[in-house]
Symmetry: C2
């Protein structure tokens, strides 16, 4: 429960490496993005300001061929969000609309709130059993170092609203896909099947979900007034920002390092994903410290990741004709790298494992690699080599998609460990003349 700042010493003590003197670049980027831009929802005027800021920043840092690459998206424009339990006792809930929620009238919708302890329990409810009612979907997500809970429990957010709608619910509330105990809801996009009519769908904070569960346990019917007035809008402007540190041999395919520039609107996008852009960019620069790298390193600060990976899709469409050598992404906060997974030429992989070993980073025992949402489309299209530097996610879902995603949550010591781990990898792959293919 102690604030992050006070746990820096303990967290930094996890890092067995001799401290590298930080050059301040990573902190400067994430501090600038969160302070001078702030929240930057996909498709918004703020995301456009973020692109302008990013182009200037990358140029100032010495990147070449820096440009924004525009595209348009179907986005979500937030309105006013509120939820109030009206029976058996009045209690206000801390709520956020999910991205692509259906809209309520300004005064909201009111009805009985039917409690389900799990997504499976909702699935088992009879079709048509929600006439005039709303569903509440609870779950039991716990923290995990590798973030394993976000798959199954995140499905409550991704799938739950559509399932409730298919059974006739007039609205849905979920326990946030989060592991903290603060009155800050976790937003995020939900999915609707083609042709389905969206219903109002919101997430309440974990303490509010626990309150709903206790009220439901009293055995009296619950009622709720839910007002979520945001709208889904087509044709909103978005875009990626790319820049390069040219290599000594421009004929070799480049190394692509990605992150996303957009953020949810509740916080200021520090850990998700200002930190990722800070890490990959600072490492690309530091990898030149011993001399210009052999291969070009291209950074991709993608737009509109949060609403469906639109930036990654746009990048692949725009650049599929250019060969790439390898792609990596940082999009899991700012806490330390603890594990490396790879799909790469074995001899190169062995050198990476050896370089990361003194930093306490261990090889993954799984053959699965992820790449990340913003680079996955180009990885899939070109069957690229991939290195995953897995970060410690124990507290990631305390902050993810909440108002609490702010600069103070970033531990400078762990941010620096990320930059150094990325630098070690980039120094190897960007100076490898041979094929990186597995």
């Amino acid at each position: 429960m102690k604030p992050i700042r006070r746990s820096f010493a303990a967290l930094a003590a996890l890092l067995p490496i001799t401290a590298h003197a930080t050059d301040g670049t990573a902190w400067d980027i994430v501090s600038g993005l969160t302070t001078e831009v702030g929240p930057r929802l996909a498709g918004s005027e703020a995301e456009a300001r973020a692109r302008a800021w990013s182009v200037e920043k990358l140029k100032a840092l010495g990147f070449r061929n820096v440009r924004a690459e525009p595209f348009t998206i179907r986005g979500y424009v937030r309105g006013t969000d509120s939820a109030m339990i009206t029976a058996p006792v009045p209690q206000r809930l801390a709520v956020s609309a999910l991205g692509f929620s259906g809209a309520t009238p300004d005064k909201g919708v009111e009805g009985e709130l039917v409690y389900f302890a799990t997504l499976d329990a909702l699935k088992a409810a009879p079709a048509g059993s929600f006439k005039g009612k709303l569903a509440f979907i609870d779950h039991a997500m716990m923290p995990a170092q590798d973030g394993a809970g976000y798959g199954p429990y995140g499905n409550v957010r991704r799938q739950g609203p559509a399932i409730a709608a298919s059974k006739g619910a007039i609205g849905v509330l979920i326990r946030s896909a989060g592991t903290d105990h603060h009155r800050n809801p976790h937003t995020g996009a939900t999915n609707w099947p083609q042709g389905a009519a969206p219903i109002p769908a919101g997430a309440v904070s974990v303490p509010d979900a626990e309150l709903v569960a206790r009220l439901a346990a009293l055995g009296k019917p619950l009622r709720v007034v839910l007002a979520l007035t945001g709208k889904t809008v087509d044709g909103l402007p978005s875009g990626n920002v790319v820049g390069e540190l040219p290599g000594r041999d421009p004929s070799l395919p480049p190394i692509l390092v990605g992150c996303h520039l957009d953020s949810w609107d509740l916080g200021t996008g520090a850990i998700d994903d200002g930190a990722g852009c800070a890490i990959v960019t600072a490492a690309a620069l530091r990898a030149q410290a011993g001399g210009q790298a052999l291969r070009t390193i291209r950074v991709l600060w993608a737009g509109s990741e949060e609403l469906g990976g639109f930036g990654g899709d746009a990048y692949a469409r725009a650049h599929v004709a250019e060969p790439h050598a390898l792609a990596m992404e940082s999009d899991f906060g700012a806490d330390r790298v603890w594990r490396v997974g790879m799909r790469i030429a074995p001899a190169v992989g062995q050198r990476i494992v050896a370089a990361l070993n003194p930093m306490g980073i261990v090889p993954s025992r799984s053959s699965e690699v992820e790449g990340g949402t913003d680079v996955e489309p180009i990885i899939a299209a070109q069957k690229l080599a991939v290195v995953d530097l897995n970060q410690d996610g124990t507290r990631y879902f305390d902050l993810h998609h909440t108002p609490d995603d702010t600069l103070d949550k970033i531990d400078p010591a762990q941010l620096e460990q990320n930059v150094q781990a990325w630098t070690e990898v980039l120094k190897i792959v960007a100076n490898e003349p041979g094929s990186l293919a597995p």
Copy 2:
């Protein structure tokens, strides 16, 4: 940063006592108040519901002479709170009006926001220097086991708005008097000198205050739109709830144990002060476990503490003609008791120290005793004996007066340690036939 729930094991390990089987009474009270009543702002309809709930609960627990003792107060009725930085970049702030804030129009007031790093810096600003401007008052409160930071840094909230108003400011924002790093502002009452015209006064969360400080450091003028539409209202209904466990000798003056029933409206009043009512009430009952105590124990669940200690004043007015033997209060959360301070007959004090020693509770090295806001007026009027069971306040000001003051923040193991420490003290003082006076 880990949520409270996950740190129970670590916190419980601090408790050297052999675990007592909890009777569940304390948890039942604080769970009931937060779930079945919820927030209960002084003077509100919710506080009235809390009184009705409390009368029923105390009767059900076996207390006698249970009644509400009504009085009226000058209260604060919250409106809509919002704050938005508009320059140098748009950034929304998480804000709460302070109690007794002046009201803005619905659209708010707009002006330059002048940053002061400390209350002293504001005091040094020239009179009349705020024409059309608002003040931002920052500070550097840190956590302390004995809560020492709340005195000096809490003065930013108590005194800062009136000082800014005296220099012509049209509004004021402060860094919350808090030690957490969540986007949850800490509300609380502010004070206006007799005859002063209140100005709009709000507190922003600690991460937002840090953002304002970083924006101010950019060197460009800040502008803000502040809307705080709540109102100060006279003649609102409030009241205390009292109940007794009669002693074997009704001629002996009773032991008074206090807490407060009202809470701020942002959270549900779990640690402030549902836990206090839970602790004193459960301990009063458990002190009868070896047989009816010699002296009557009277519980006081005071109303309207948060707005100025109105319940304690009303209790003293109503009961000053009745002799009391000793008064104690619990109003510092639910974390473990670590120290005892006393003003009491020395022989009785020695027995209390000996009884608490096996629980890791040490005697205070200070001669100061506090009693607590709700019992201070009767202590002062009758020069009563006092026992202070000091709780660990290290994380108290992470939660105090915030939306995060919810049931999940209470560690059952530490709550139980409180009940047992109080029981040890009450068994001694309520069975002492001689004078308790120091």
